[in-house]
Symmetry: C2
Subunit: 126 residues, 2 copies
């Protein structure tokens, strides 16, 4: 991966977090659970977003398979909202997804919006 592409990817991940109040970090990951790149908000450097995304990545494969077997089509977005945190994910390709972790649930809609807005750029830079 060239330096330019790396910068573009990081810029997109950063924008998702900066534009979403309550976002702790964002990550670009393969469905094999291997992280490509991540960005953590200032003060959130201790958050292990990689482990979180990895933990879900294998389960997302199962959800994608289920949706396909049910003729729902390819999965484009998965949202998991829990009591303290929410993980918003967008599928970028067969192999990659981008996720944002929210530690404040008030701006979930904005997070989803920003994730979608940056997806085209992320996809182009993959």
């Amino acid at each position: 991966m060239t330096g330019h592409r790396t910068n573009m990817l990081l810029e997109s991940l950063k924008k998702i977090v900066q534009k979403t109040p309550g976002a702790a970090g964002s990550i670009l990951m393969g469905f094999d659970g291997i992280a490509v790149m991540q960005y953590l908000a200032p003060g959130c450097e201790d958050i292990d977003i990689e482990s979180a995304a990895m933990e879900f990545s294998f389960r997302f494969i199962e959800l994608r398979k289920a949706a396909q077997s049910l003729d729902m089509g390819d999965v484009t977005d998965i949202t998991i909202k829990a009591e303290r945190q929410a993980l918003l994910c967008r599928v970028l390709s067969d192999d990659y997804f981008v996720a944002v972790l929210l530690t404040d649930l008030a701006h979930l809609g904005r997070g989803r919006w920003n994730l979608r807005a940056e997806s085209a750029d992320l996809r182009a830079d993959l």
Copy 2:
């Protein structure tokens, strides 16, 4: 289950579908994959929402376990958006969830809103 409670549950499931444009049906199901009750929109009687919800129910257990292990707290909502359909789910208790299947993705937000609005009633009648 008494007739009164059955009617109340069905009424809630019906409201979710009727108030959400593009909703094909709604279902109340145990995480063991056993359906309690379902409502299908007129013209959608051939849609097998039970199989769809069942297919996901076991995977939802895995997502709930993952969220707990990551200290995200108990999962309250899961949204799976695919190309042709979306499944919106809300956890009602340790044992039950309610889901609405959308065959038109334009009103996902409204679906989530209605699901939440009826959850209190559904929970009370469980």
